[in-house]
């Protein structure tokens, strides 16, 4: 059985788009050609080629036997004739089949399995042109094929035989191309079997994993690990070869953050560190060559880095000529958002919000306010204009250099954190408050003018901002009632709740119904929310809890049917002795004890202990008593029971094991 090889030869594809494109290619191939089987399906890529290899596929798909159902015999001869005509046959040649409704005419149809070469040639143009990329271009005309970069050649082979088709004017064949500089200048004929080797001879390592190992193997133990950078370099090169360069140690007087950013983000170099964690005056660049025998590439890279570091040093010196506090006024000229005005306006709002939060938390308000006052001023510095990823960090470094207190400098340094779910939260309460104030302000303002994320569209990274707020509140356990700060902004409270839900489920790992139960109760602080979820998770396996949750569901239904939305405590005098009075007594006792209990676990255990009384009540008592006064009193008892414990969670949200099996 032949192997099928596809290579889409392009101009350099942006590194970050390659892996998703390969996955898309794989799933499109699978969807279209499942009939041809195959023992393995592999995808791989370099910047200039997307490759798919399907091993041992069928040369011809199996025939498919199908039954086309026709009319029942009882429908009469006319219907049968019509069906036969439509199928291109006559009634006497129709087969018959019995099903539940009787005997009917059918046609047995045999669909010949398509040949692989034909099927591939027919469907691949559409599959290739349909590969999803975040941004595409056209090059053959404005109505032509759109792809990430121009397609320049296509290899499509069943073993050594070409599969013929055409995409964007490019005809498929057996000719590939080697490394731009090191490979053969002419197209290289290949077969599915020798493809990898022929390319290797032409300085292309097709396998990304192998390129990664080749880089890693040459890095050295003193090189700072950086998986993201490594992946970028794997997809920026076809034949990666790391080289090591050095820089003048005098640059080490600049902060490490700045040097690393220049090396990593601007030059894609790995940093080299000493055993004590400080930076060494060296770097590793990954070239797309087979070596640097004359040291020219090293010299060139060293020269570029020197210029970059000189710039940084120059920026540092020039920036110090005006303090952050003097720069605050300039923020009026820095746009926050077209419709939302300048950073000066934002700064004022954040300042006020931070003050409010500092009071709520009991943090050092003076430091928070000072940090809030100058935290955005670094946006006007040359350093941040040049190295935008260093916003905040530069502010913190400058604040320290300009004599601000450690608390203020650290708060500014950290206030964009966390940048992702993996990133840590700000180290100090002041930084945490500043970060929250900054992010809540952005969320509020954007929601106010309708910039609300939908689906995958979130250009202002509001989800990340909201997730950052939630992460800080959960992890730092700040006594901040989030709802107070977001409730006046349409949709924002719900948006924040979704983020809290995500955190409880995906980070803390609680079951969805546990999360729903606690979120259905009033929000409070997120620390409290986490405690409640933890308690439910803990108490849940105990025998009484789930049955009680089922009873709460029943209570909720009864109250809804009776349209009870509010009720006073029941009148003790009207209660019938026995189960009704017992439940009341137990409830009042648990109510007091739960109020005094220290932890949610204890409270929940107490609530669960009501189960026998609740069960007996439902077993023996008819809530819908004909006497309205008694009925109302019983509803009041149930309402009190539900209301009392609903501040912890809405237990009716818990899916009991009984429900799960049904």
């Amino acid at each position: 059985m032949p192997d099928f090889l596809l290579e889409i030869g392009t101009e350099e594809i942006p590194d970050w788009m390659i892996e998703p494109a390969l996955e898309d290619l794989r799933s499109r191939y699978q969807a279209a050609f499942s009939a041809f089987g195959g023992s393995a399906l592999m995808v791989d890529a370099t910047p200039r080629r997307l490759v798919l290899l399907a091993k041992d596929i069928l040369e011809q798909a199996s025939d498919v036997q199908s039954v086309i159902p026709g009319p029942y015999i009882s429908a009469g001869p006319k219907a049968a004739e019509g069906f036969a005509r439509k199928q291109g046959t006559t009634v006497d040649r129709l087969a018959k089949l019995c099903d539940a409704k009787g005997e009917r005419f059918v046609v047995h149809q045999l669909t010949k399995g398509q040949e692989a070469a034909a099927a591939l040639g027919e469907k691949l143009p559409e599959i290739i042109a349909g590969i999803h990329f975040p941004k595409t271009m056209c090059w053959t005309g404005k109505d032509g094929v759109r792809f990430i970069r121009p397609i320049r050649w296509i290899v499509a082979l069943l073993d050594e035989k070409a599969v013929k088709f055409e995409v964007a004017g490019v005809k498929s064949g057996n000719l590939t191309r080697g490394h731009r500089i090191l490979g053969s200048k002419n197209p290289i004929p290949v077969t599915a079997a020798n493809y990898i080797e022929r390319l290797r001879e032409n300085f292309v390592i097709v396998n990304a994993e192998e390129r990664k190992r080749r880089i890693e193997g040459a890095l050295g133990a003193d090189v700072q690990r950086d998986d993201e950078l490594l992946r970028t370099l794997v997809y920026l090169t076809e034949f990666p070869t790391p080289i090591r360069g050095s820089f003048d140690p005098s640059y080490l007087e600049l902060p490490k953050e700045i040097l690393s950013t220049v090396m990593r983000h601007h030059q894609r170099y790995f940093s080299v560190v000493n055993s004590d964690g400080t930076l060494a005056p060296q770097f590793v660049a990954v070239t797309n060559t087979d070596g640097d025998p004359d040291g020219l590439i090293r010299q060139g890279n060293e020269r570029v880095l020197r210029a970059r570091f000189n710039d940084a040093r120059f920026f540092w010196q020039v920036d110090q000529q005006r303090k952050l506090s003097e720069r605050v006024a300039d923020l009026a000229k820095v746009t926050f958002h077209v419709k939302l005005g300048s950073y000066a306006a934002k700064n004022n709002r954040v300042w006020m919000l931070a003050e409010e939060l500092a009071k709520a938390v009991g943090a050092d308000a003076a430091s928070v306010q000072r940090a809030a006052e100058i935290c955005k001023a670094d946006l006007t510095t040359d350093m941040v204009k040049e190295f935008t990823d260093l916003q905040g960090i530069v502010g913190g470094l400058y604040a320290k250099a300009q004599g601000e207190s450690e608390a203020v400098a650290t708060a500014i340094y950290d206030h964009y954190k966390p940048l992702s779910m993996e990133d840590s939260i700000p180290r100090t309460p002041e930084g945490q408050i500043l970060s929250i104030a900054d992010k809540i302000d952005t969320l509020r303002e954007c929601f106010q003018i309708g910039l609300i994320p939908t689906g995958s569209k979130d250009p202002f990274a509001l989800r990340r901002a909201a997730q950052g707020v939630v992460k800080i509140l959960f992890e730092a356990r700040l006594p901040v009632e989030l709802a107070i700060y977001v409730q006046e902004y349409a949709g924002l409270a719900e948006f924040m709740k979704e983020r809290a839900q995500f955190y409880l489920r995906d980070v803390l790992g609680y079951a969805y119904d546990e999360v729903n139960a606690v979120l259905a109760a009033p929000l409070g602080t997120l620390a409290d929310l986490a405690d409640r979820a933890e308690a439910i998770h803990y108490v849940r396996p105990t025998g009484d809890f789930e049955p009680l949750a089922a009873s709460f569901k029943r209570i909720k239904n009864i109250l809804r049917q009776a349209q009870v939305e509010q009720a006073p405590l029941p009148d003790a005098k009207r209660l019938a002795p026995g189960p009704e009075e017992d439940l009341y007594t137990a409830f009042m006792r648990v109510r007091t004890e739960a109020g005094e209990a220290g932890s949610y676990r204890d409270k929940l255990a107490l609530i669960a202990s009501l189960r026998p009384q609740v069960d007996l009540f439902f077993d023996k008592i008819l809530v819908n008593d004909p006497n309205p006064a008694i009925r109302q009193n019983r509803l009041a008892l149930l309402y009190s029971l539900l209301a009392e414990f609903s501040s912890i969670a809405d237990f009716s949200e818990i899916v009991t094991s009984q429900e799960k099996t049904v």
Binding site: R152, D294, L296, Q299, L305, N310
Partner: protein, 295 residues
Amino acid sequence: MDFFQDTILKLKQYWASRGAVIQEPYDVEVGAGTMAPETFLRVLGPKPYKVAYVQPSRRPADGRYGENPNRLYKHQQLQVILKPTPDDVLEQYLGSLTAIGIDLRKHDIKFEEDNWEAPTLGAWGIGWQVMLDGLEITQFTYFQQCGGIDLDLVPAEITYGLERIVAFLQNVDSVYDIEWAPGVKYADVRLADEEQFSVYNFELANVDRLWRLFSEHEAECAELLKEFTPESQRFPLLAAYDQVLKCSHLFNLLDARGAISVTERVGIIARIRKLAVGVAEAWCAQQFPAEEAAA
């Protein structure tokens, strides 16, 4: 070693031998070679065209009083437009590097994603920055839209940063140390330019007058566009486009002076864009009436 002027001559020679018209720089201030009519207007419509020219490009905010070794108020771009893009465009481009003495087997070349957009011109494209041993030497763009018009005959735009390339070739750390011609350094030719224009751009340009000039040039362009009728081949759209360039340069000057507030900024860009789009549409109507009718 090649002097600055040698490298320019070799690049021009290289592209001339591949059929490009060698143009001279445009004589109205521009921020980039893209803005010269040889690019902005030529990429429109169905006529193939190849052109190469050096374009001194003025970016007032980038001036550093001649004190920074790598930053300039005015730098020289060598701009190449190939319309339509030949299939082997990247091979041709690499050939041009060989032509100026770069032995590609001894260096490291990478094409890193870098898309280009000029909101004042209603133009954007997709492409790369070309890195040579870690140094960005060229911006390569497949033009997709210009003056708000989708381009059907997709051109490739190759923009060489001449100072960077020559500093690399001559192995100097400061652009001012580049040897322009025998015995003449870059500083001898251009330093005074950088010093004086930095002072003017950042300190002395009269903001009120610049605003007035902006409005005058804008009005001139708008009036011309109002008068425009596609029937007349002589109608001066090229003059109208010069007014757009004037507006764009005045905007950059005002920006360097810190005279454009947040709220104004977007509005001003939109005003220039409106003129640029207006000229581009009129140009197509005037020059390619058959295409217009078909569309």
